[in-house]
Homo-oligomer: 194 residues x 2
């Protein structure tokens, strides 16, 4: 059965879903099936930032109210959604769709780094690139690789913009007692005047 093959869905949930579908009217079922067929054909990458979109540009890149001089680089669309759900960021994004991960044979060419560099070459008023890859080994390596590429780009273009990385430290609501020492060390290094 197809439902059982979906991630996180076992036999019991699959049965429950199947019985729910059986209770739907035929027209509802057709609509649902069509939506599934359309999912892949209608979903495209945004031509600028590689977010998912049904048009050429995603909603964020099309939004004139957002700050187009600030680009946050994330590994996946799910990370982008995290920022958007928080309503904490007014700039735009660039989605890499992956991370440099030599153990799994993912190199810089396999993720959307080149389009990022091309995009920045064309941009005239860029002020900041925020490297928001995950705070682990591969995310860190990816951020460092992109940082070096951007520094070279700055030199060759004779332009300047900030390159920043998300702050590391204690997450909100954390308990020092249970914090790992790497996080504690970061929170000490990144302490702020108060």
């Amino acid at each position: 059965m197809f439902l059982e093959r979906l991630p996180g869905i076992g036999e019991k949930t699959a049965n429950r879903l199947a019985f729910h579908l059986l209770r739907l009217s035929e027209s509802d079922l057709k609509e649902f099936a069509q939506a599934i067929v359309d999912l892949k054909s209608k979903t495209k990458y945004c031509q600028v930032c590689y977010n998912f979109t049904e048009d050429d540009l995603c909603e964020i890149c099309e939004d004139r109210k957002r700050n187009h001089d600030q680009i946050t680089v994330v590994e996946s669309v799910l990370d982008l959604i995290s920022f958007e759900n928080g309503d904490i960021y007014q700039g735009i994004y660039h989605v890499l769709h992956g991370r440099i991960d030599p153990l799994n044979r993912v190199g810089p060419e396999d993720i959307h780094i080149k389009p990022l560099l091309n995009r920045i070459k064309k941009s005239k008023s860029l002020k900041e690139v925020i490297l928001a890859t995950n705070p682990d080994m591969e995310g860190e390596a990816t951020a460092m690789y992109i940082r070096n590429q951007l520094e070279e780009l700055k030199k060759s273009l004779k332009t300047d913009f900030k390159i920043t990385r998300l702050g590391y430290g204690l997450p909100m609501g954390a308990n020092l007692e249970y914090a790992d020492y790497m996080t504690l060390r970061k929170s000490l290094e990144n302490r702020n005047n108060f």
Copy 2:
């Protein structure tokens, strides 16, 4: 049975511990019992920082190699142990033994804030106080209260030292996808040049 009253120990574990104790020799048992009796009578507060100690001063306050011009203020000895386990900090501490928590009727007078201020009054070369209370409501309120007290102290003593707070942000190994928006917001605010 006494063992069952210990935190985190249920009936089964209590039985297992009891059977283990039964297997010990009488002299081992007596030694163990004496250690428990001594625990309370021998353990004192360090006269300077309120860490636990068997002497007047704790090992950290007595250590001449540590930086006595940098004081980290923590809520509990367990937090101090977190820092010490990491081997990431060379300064000394001040343990509040609590936090300001009006809902549970804990005010500034109920924790060791006054001894901290007295201690700082006597110090001649203090360079920094790091407020390392937990990143939650009560910890934040406690840090703010102490900050204000320290600012007044600075004015009245006509001296100067830094007051800092641990950095907040993404913990190491975190995944942006699952980060709460408060933590994401902090990691954006606290982003660093990279």
